[in-house]
């Protein structure tokens, strides 16, 4: 028996640091909270999207073979965090994850005739994917479905491409995410089957993992900025003559929020690295990062609102905007319940490992 040790190194490369710096300054300049508010209720800003297109952000994580810059899932996760930090009203995550999926299909020799590839690569044509199709057929809510004209889904063992000429109507939600119902049986939708069999299942499963990780990253961004906003508020706000940050009932909540942000951020980039580099190793990490980011963001942004007292629940407070975004961004993928279900695969693997272990055993 030999120990298996793994490195556990979360440090960014210089290139990754630079990418983060670039994205942070771009979004903080171009996606100020006024821009985000003005983009509601649809949750999409055409100008910001154009900026994203013009700055080459849509090809960062697309393989070079498919016309992209060859960056990986880690870069996409880092981008997701920055998108989340301003709740940027652009479907960057959904679009790029879907482009990576389409590139994988291309790489497997699938013809994408139904799609104008160059338009998709440039972002003039927005594409998205339907995570819920992993479990459910028929009509379903699709993230960025109200701004995408092409949606990739998984149906009856096949990867399908749905396209439509006009945008699907948004399904209104409190977070003002551009969510929409899509169905292959919708009269406005044309459907093409792209690939079936085990290869299709494998490609879809990996793409679904990538969607979870990149989406988890964007939720981490929402939490991170909420944490900073709440901290500043607690330092500024006085009650009974003292800054409220001196009350343990406040400062311990800020500590708890910080713990959630750190662990969710770390888990997400770890999942990204491993999914990119060793996709067969612990596939449950994608569902874990999504589940943890979701639960952590739901509770942390609620605490961040609460720390603001009455101010927090006003629509004009910045913090309430991030609170609203969380549930829409997090739940459109199907919720923690489905994430836990997929983590279950790891239980079976661990049960197998333990069955071989001599040291510990049950005695009835």
């Amino acid at each position: 028996m030999t120990l298996v040790l793994r490195r556990n190194d979360y440090t960014l490369t210089d290139e990754q640091d630079q990418l983060v710096d670039m994205l942070r300054s771009l979004f903080s300049e171009q996606s100020a909270i006024e821009v985000v508010r003005a983009a509601e209720p649809l949750g999409f800003d055409q100008n910001l999207w154009a900026t994203v297109q013009n700055n080459g952000l849509l090809t960062i994580s697309v393989p070079e073979s498919a016309g992209g810059d060859g960056g990986g899932l880690v870069e996409l996760a880092l981008a997701g965090i920055e998108v989340g930090r301003t709740a940027a009203p652009v479907p960057l995550i959904d679009h790029v994850v879907t482009m990576r999926l389409l590139a994988a299909l291309k790489g497997a020799g699938v013809a994408l005739d139904a799609l104008d590839w160059d338009a998709a690569l440039s972002g003039d044509l927005i594409v998205s994917m339907a995570p819920i199709s992993t479990w459910e057929l028929g009509a379903q809510l699709v993230p960025s479905g109200a701004v995408a004209k092409a949606v990739v889904a998984f149906k009856d063992g096949s990867i399908i491409l749905m396209t439509r000429e006009t945008n699907a109507p948004q399904a209104q939600n409190e977070g003002c995410a551009p969510v929409a119902w899509w169905s292959p049986s919708d009269a406005d939708v044309r459907t093409a089957t792209l690939l079936d069999g085990d290869l299709a299942a494998g490609i879809w499963e990996l793409a679904h993992r990538e969607w979870r990780i990149a989406t988890a990253a964007s939720i981490v961004g929402l939490m991170a900025i909420s944490s900073e906003i709440a901290r500043s508020y607690a330092l500024d706000r006085k009650a009974f003559g003292v800054t409220i940050a001196k009350f343990q009932a406040i400062s311990h909540q800020l500590a708890d929020i910080h713990m959630d942000v750190v662990t969710a951020r770390n888990m997400t980039i770890k999942a990204a690295w491993l999914t990119e580099n060793e996709p067969a190793f612990r596939p449950e990490l994608a569902a874990m990062s999504m589940a943890h980011a979701t639960r952590a963001a739901l509770r942390s942004t609620a605490k961040a609102v609460h720390i603001h007292g009455g101010m927090g629940i006003t629509n004009e407070a910045d913090i309430s905007l991030f609170y609203r975004k969380v549930s829409s961004w997090a739940l459109v993928g199907g919720g923690i319940r489905r994430d836990l279900d997929d983590i279950g695969n790891a239980i079976d693997r661990r049960a197998q490992e333990l069955a071989a272990s001599a040291l510990i055993s049950s005695n009835r």
């Binding site: 009974f240 979701t294 509770r299 629509n315 549930s327 199907g334």
Partner: protein, 387 residues
């Protein structure tokens, strides 16, 4: 100990029927209207209720009420809940204050209308820089002969846009003297210089910032002595709600202050059950048969029962937090449809899960944060005032 069903008397049955008719004639239920606690009873309903003395039904008939008891109060509460109609309109906490401290002029000209409910009130306590610390108020009232001139600004003046009077806390001396230089007024909201700007809150409710610019009112509107506003303001807090009502053991335990939130939680659970009953799983069975859905619903029902067994003040943080927790859990159970608003294709029941998730943080704040309630509870347990 008694948890038996109440046999309503024939008078009570008539009373129930009359309220049902009154509501049906004056109100169309709005299913999206779950977060009712920030809304006020619609005026047509209120005027009909006032006519019958049912706004403060426990007051004697000659004091604007109807001399009714606890069961009738519960009938009103339950029916308003059943019809999704906002019920908030009572001035019952202010009436004893006006009776004790109001000027003769107020007692003769304003109090009767407040008692019947034809006139409505709102509270002007908090200011932008002092939410819970009311002794730091800076809205200034300056005496000028027989009139007062008021200048300042109040936060969280809920219903400030639709009330007849605001119960206003003002400063009539040096701010440094804290609670010793405060004076209360009952200011007519239609006085020139009073202005209410809406503040919209998560979940769709409205509160207001109210501005007071050279608002000039007669000394008749003063409540209690000059600089004695702290005692006057404290009076409602000391008054037991419905203290005059004969207790028949029907109300939620000692009147849990979270009862309103618990009614909302009941609607949330009901909506989730209806969602599950109306959806099928891949194998064709109802989602109600899904063990994880059942466990989530059972836990929500358990939390609801817990809240109904809470007492008085402690019901407030408990119900607020249970509501927030279950809104999150049930939204997840019903994801992704759980995020959809009312009226959207596929939304759950009245979009209640999505709207409650927005509304819930407010329940942990208004009327005092959950921290304030825990501080109070700790002090009632004999613990020292926290740092």
């Amino acid at each position: 100990m008694d948890f038996s069903q109440v046999e309503l008397t024939s008078d009570q049955l008539v009373f129930e029927k009359e309220i049902r008719e009154l509501i049906s004639e004056n109100w169309t239920p709005n299913l999206s209207h779950i977060a009712v606690d920030h809304d006020r009873m619609p005026k047509p309903v209120r005027m009909e209720m006032a006519k019958r003395g049912w706004i403060h039904p426990d007051l004697a008939p000659d004091a604007g009420g109807a001399g009714l008891g606890e069961i009738e109060l519960e009938v009103i509460t339950n029916l308003f809940d059943e019809y999704y109609i906002p019920a908030n309109v009572s001035s019952s906490l202010l009436i004893p204050t006006l009776e004790k401290f109001g000027s003769q002029w107020l007692k003769e000209n304003v109090l009767p209308g407040i008692r019947t409910g034809e006139l409505t009130t709102c509270l002007g306590y908090s200011e932008p820089d002092n939410g819970s610390d009311m002794a730091a108020a800076t809205t200034r009232a300056v005496q000028d002969g027989d009139t007062w001139v008021i200048n300042g600004q109040k936060m969280w003046t809920t219903w400030g846009n639709e009330s007849d009077y605001v119960f206003l806390l003002t400063r009539t001396g040096a701010v440094e003297e804290k609670h010793r230089t405060l004076t209360m007024f009952l200011v007519p909201m239609n006085t020139p210089g009073v202005d209410a700007t809406p503040v919209w809150i998560l979940g769709g409710g409205r509160t207001n910032v109210t501005f007071y610019s050279d608002v000039t009112i007669s000394d008749n509107y003063r409540i209690g002595p000059v600089n004695d506003g702290w005692s006057v303001m404290s009076e409602p807090l000391a008054t037991e709600h419905g203290a005059g009502v004969v207790t028949e053991g029907v109300a939620p335990v000692n009147g849990s202050m979270g009862a309103g939130f618990s009614r909302v939680l009941q609607k949330l659970v009901d909506g989730a059950i209806q969602w599950a009953a109306s959806r099928t799983m891949a194998d064709g069975r109802s989602r109600l048969e899904d063990p994880l859905v059942r466990a989530a619903l059972a836990e929500a029902m358990l939390d609801l029962e817990m809240c109904w067994n809470a007492e008085g003040e402690l019901g407030k943080p408990m119900s607020a937090e249970a509501l927030a927790k279950q809104a999150d859990k049930l939204a997840d159970m019903a994801a992704p449809e759980g995020l959809l608003d009312f009226g959207v294709d596929g939304s759950i029941a009245a979009g209640i899960i999505a709207s409650e998730r927005q509304h819930a943080p407010g329940t942990a704040v208004y009327g005092g944060t959950t921290e304030i309630y825990r501080n109070n509870l700790a002090r009632r347990l004999g613990l020292p005032r926290p740092y």
